[in-house]
């Protein structure tokens, strides 16, 4: 990068920081959500690191491919990515005052979350009933159920969160003036998507 380009990039960042006030009611919720997500990311990060430590330290750790199918989870991953797109489209719609479009995209986001939860329930049922997996059997099973279950709880929380915003949009209590509420909910939903991307790789693929 040339010196001029570097200076330009630096100036752009400085101007952006000056234009945006530090703490206003509009961005306070966003700051709060980012702080919460940082703590949540530490929890997931520690859980995944513990999983890695247990797995590397155990010579008898089974291959995930022998137990976990990836067809269902690959579809679940795709659904979660799609629901992230519908979430940003819902945010864009409410920011521009298109409430019908907002309601449609938010409904699709909730539907994506419910589909993900339904498929996870199907997967767990298959693993428990047909393959005999249980949280009490061994560390492989315990880490699998704890990590995917903890993430599933987050998805459930996100579905409830988004459903509340959808209902408020339908009843007219959520207006474009309160679009920042949808942006904050979107941060949570995209974080859930991001964590699943890592869990899919570390638990299922590797």
């Amino acid at each position: 990068m040339s010196e001029a380009a570097a200076v330009d990039t630096h100036d752009h960042g400085a101007v952006r920081d000056q234009l945006e006030p530090s703490l206003t009611p509009g961005n306070l919720g966003k700051l709060g959500m980012w702080t919460f997500l940082a703590g949540d990311a530490m929890t997931f990060g520690a859980a995944i690191a513990a999983y890695g430590a247990l797995r590397i330290g155990n010579p008898n750790w089974p291959s995930p491919a022998a137990y976990l199918g990836i067809t269902t989870t690959a579809i679940m991953t795709f659904i979660l990515i799609c629901s992230s797109v519908t979430m940003v489209e819902a945010l864009g719609a409410i920011q521009t005052g298109k409430m019908t479009k907002y309601r449609n995209f938010m409904a699709l986001t909730v539907l994506g979350g419910l589909t993900f939860l339904g498929m996870q329930g199907f997967e767990w049922h298959h693993l428990i009933e047909l393959k005999g997996m249980s949280i009490k059997v061994d560390l492989f099973d315990a880490t699998f159920f704890i990590l995917t279950g903890f993430h599933g709880c987050h998805v459930f929380g996100g579905v409830v969160y988004n459903s509340v915003l959808l209902i408020r949009g339908i009843t007219g209590k959520l207006t474009p003036a309160k679009a920042n509420l949808v942006e904050v909910a979107g941060l949570y939903w995209h974080f859930v998507d991001l964590v699943w991307i890592l869990i899919f790789t570390f638990i299922y693929l590797i």
Partner: protein
């Protein structure tokens, strides 16, 4: 066209990034992940590629869906902090892991603790009597 150019090129027309382009990149990266998984590469190469692809997808989600690319630096610092702390945690775990691995190579011994055995327990060999 590079990823950055494709994503930000749309910004000239709209206020935000081109989310459909981000979605397409995420779908392509997921397809590549599945290809790497099915290819039967050596374990080290497979793990390296899959981790790199997962991080690429995570960065795309954080930068564009979570708007970190357009946000204040303060939020980026909050976002990067857990990544640094978890990386530090992994380094903190390394001495324990490496010592266990070296012990295994130097003095192979059967695993007798059920909690350590995982799914395939190995019974200890019978004692040799003189």
């Amino acid at each position: 066209m590079t990823t950055q150019a494709a994503i930000s090129g749309h910004e000239a027309e709209h206020s935000g990034p081109n989310y459909i382009a981000v979605f397409i990149y995420l779908a392509i990266l997921t397809a590549i992940e599945l290809g790497v998984y099915a290819m039967g590469l050596p374990q080290v190469a497979k793990v390296g590629l899959l981790v790199a692809l997962a991080w690429a997808k995570a960065v795309l989600v954080a930068m564009y869906f979570m708007h970190l690319a357009m946000e204040r630096r303060g939020l980026a610092i909050i976002a990067i902090t857990p990544v640094l702390l978890v990386t530090f945690l992994c380094f903190m775990l390394l001495p324990d892991l490496t010592s266990r691995m070296w012990t295994r190579f130097d003095h192979p011994r059967p695993v007798t603790n059920a909690a350590e055995m995982g799914a395939n327990p190995v019974a200890p060999p019978p004692m040799q009597t003189p």
